[in-house]
């Protein structure tokens, strides 16, 4: 389990009983290691998209918590903490970590799991009605790394067409 802690940016000292992250660690500790890593990556990638426009709204956070809770079969409190940690990790690391986490997710996840993540990325980005261009770009970067088939990507874009950047303003003309 040490790997997941270090990957999440938690040093041994941070895991002391009084650490504010103790509950998160505890939440993940109750999962199988592979499942915990999957969930951590899943949350991290959601955070990448939510952070793409440098602002994570309350609605986006709530959507991420719901998605992580369902994906990880966690309690609501645990999901809140995992998302909180993922948001922080995303801010702290970014760059190389973005690439590494997506690559690891691509390697460990089955294609259906990748598609499930893709759907969640769009869902998080669309929480505030409009997907920003920055969020859309980040989604495409992630899905490109996950090697999502163009046909599947197109289907997701079409499903979310009402929220795609550039289209909302066109509709309001």
């Amino acid at each position: 389990m040490a790997g997941i802690f270090s990957w999440l940016g938690l040093s041994a000292r941070e895991q002391e009983p009084d650490s504010p992250l103790r509950d998160v660690v505890s939440a993940l500790d109750r999962l199988e290691p592979d499942r915990a890593r999957h969930l951590a990556r899943f949350a991290y990638l959601l955070g990448r998209v939510a952070h793409a426009d440098r602002h994570v709204s309350a609605e986006e956070t709530a959507a991420m918590e719901r998605l992580v809770r369902d994906e990880g079969r966690l309690t609501s409190d645990q999901a809140v903490l995992v998302v909180s940690l993922a948001k922080t990790s995303n801010l702290l690391f970014g760059g190389t970590a973005d690439f590494v986490v997506a690559r690891e997710f691509a390697e460990e996840a089955a294609y259906d799991d990748k598609l499930a993540l893709a759907r969640c990325l769009f869902a998080v980005a669309a929480t505030e009605d409009a997907i920003s261009m920055a969020e859309e770009t980040e989604i495409h970067r992630i899905l490109n790394q996950l090697k999502i088939q163009p046909a599947d990507l197109t289907a997701l874009r079409v499903e979310h067409r009402a929220h795609l950047p550039g289209l909302k303003s066109q509709r309001q003309r």
């Binding site: 261009m133 770009t137 495409h140 046909a151 289209l167 066109q170 003309r173």
Partner: protein, 459 residues
């Protein structure tokens, strides 16, 4: 406010003309290809050599003037001219020097593609360009360069060996794989963000007489043609290029009268393989469905490159919308046909340019041009000579794009883009954007060259 003495001193440093409002040539000099653009620069410096360009860049920087760089003036949103700033007009710098032994071509920063084709054709050489010969080499190349030879020889930038440039600080540098390689990486797709390119050194490719031209089918056949085309072009041999189009048959020769003003679909082919093999190569194409009009045959490359020039003279109204496209599914085809049937004027069109051949054999990060994994660059253009149809052109293009954008990628070919904001530029450069901002900071930290699809310097 520019002082008379500063302008006089600048004028004294130029061998070319300096044109100001009130001069007889001013209104002609500020015109660009797109008739929708009506901008009034403070000065237009017609540079005849590198020294003039250096003086112009130094003057603009010192006087804190907005700069636009004009080659052929073809840019979609008229980036060759700006309001209140300095136009660095390279149009006098149209030299083309061919080295037939090395098969290289040195091209002046203000040359048009027609100049290049004229100079290279006698040597059996060509450089991948666009599809209109009055397009400037500079703008088309710096944005990438998609055209009739993309599947055979890649983008224009894939044939670029070096550029000579004047930077924002007035320095003159060469950028190539060996010199200033970061800058060379950036200018191959990064547009005019990094300086003024005064000459381009290209490698020439063996192209002389193509087997090429348009093949047209009835609009009712468009769904079938598009479905066949998407399959064919993704597996086609490397020596054939073909872009799909919705078009209206022009009302004049050489088109048969019974087709004049008829909305049709078509593919504009360009085969550069051995002519003796052409009939065989085109056999399955002609067998798929007999075209209503088949104008494909042997044609010298410069003629092919200038085939559409008479249809699109300077001064027409143009409104562009574009996207990269990875796949063309049946739903997208249905929407294309729906909007293709509504072409608002006979000059309006939609093109799907394949970028899946030689252009796709270069990695997305090898140059700034990042969408090499896309299959097509799509462009919807509302065009007409009548300024009164501006809204009609714009509305049709926007509606068409709105319907198709969900089936496309977030970014578009920069040479087809309107003023669509910083995020759209970021989307277009994707993962290359961060590197571009760092190179921009190194070579133009104060963003002197910002009248373009702007890449902001890294903070």
């Amino acid at each position: 406010m520019l002082s008379d003495s500063a302008i006089a001193a600048f004028k004294g440093m130029l061998r070319g003309q300096l044109i100001a409002p009130g001069d007889g040539q001013y209104d002609d000099a500020r015109k660009v290809y797109n008739g929708m653009i009506d901008r009034r620069p403070a000065l237009i410096a017609r540079c005849v050599d590198v020294a003039d360009v250096i003086s112009a860049v130094n003057f603009a920087r010192d006087q804190k003037l907005l700069v636009s760089v004009r080659g052929g003036g073809h840019n979609a949103i008229g980036l060759g001219v700006c309001d209140g700033g300095l136009v660095i007009d390279l149009s006098p710098m149209r030299h083309v020097l061919v080295d037939p032994k090395r098969k290289t071509v040195l091209v002046g920063g203000g040359a048009l593609w027609g100049d290049v084709d004229h100079a290279t054709h006698p040597f059996g050489l060509a450089i991948p360009a666009g599809i209109i010969s009055t397009t400037g080499v500079g703008g088309l190349t710096l944005g990438g360069g998609i055209g009739h030879l993309t599947r055979q020889y890649g983008l224009s930038i894939d044939n670029l060996l070096a550029v000579d440039m004047v930077l924002a600080d007035g320095r003159f540098v060469t950028a190539s794989a060996k010199q200033n390689s970061d800058l060379f990486w950036a200018v191959r797709g990064g547009g005019g963000n990094f300086g003024v390119v005064t000459s381009f050194l290209f490698k020439g490719s063996p192209v002389h007489t193509n087997y090429a031209g348009p093949m047209l089918w009835e609009m009712d056949d468009a769904p079938e043609v598009m479905r066949w085309y998407r399959r064919f072009i993704t597996k086609a041999p490397r020596d054939i290029n073909g872009f799909f189009a919705f078009l209206t048959v022009p009302p004049g020769p050489p088109f048969p009268e019974h087709l004049h003003n008829k909305k049709m679909c078509g593919i504009v082919w360009c085969y550069t393989g051995p002519l003796k093999s052409a009939a065989k190569v085109f056999k399955p194409i002609r067998a798929f469905k007999t075209p209503a009009l088949d104008m494909v045959g042997p044609i010298p490359h410069p003629v092919m490159q200038s085939m559409f020039d008479p249809l699109y003279p300077p001064g027409d109204q143009w409104y562009w919308k574009a996207d990269f496209v990875h796949e063309l599914n049946d739903e997208a085809i249905a929407l294309h046909v729906e909007h293709g049937r509504r072409l608002p004027t006979w000059k309006s069109t939609m093109h799907l340019y394949p970028i899946n051949g030689a252009a796709a054999r270069v990695r997305n990060t090898a140059t700034a041009w990042t969408y090499r994994d896309a299959t097509w660059a799509a462009v919807i253009v509302g065009v007409d000579s009548d300024p009164g149809k501006r809204d009609q052109l714009t509305n049709w293009a926007r509606d068409y794009w709105t319907a198709l954008h969900p089936y496309s990628a977030p970014g578009a070919y920069v040479n087809f883009m309107m003023d669509e904001g910083e995020d759209r530029v970021k989307a277009t450069y994707g993962k290359n954007y961060a590197r571009l901002t760092k190179i921009k900071k190194k070579y133009d930290k104060n963003n002197l060259f910002r009248h373009n699809q702007n890449i902001k310097p890294a903070r």
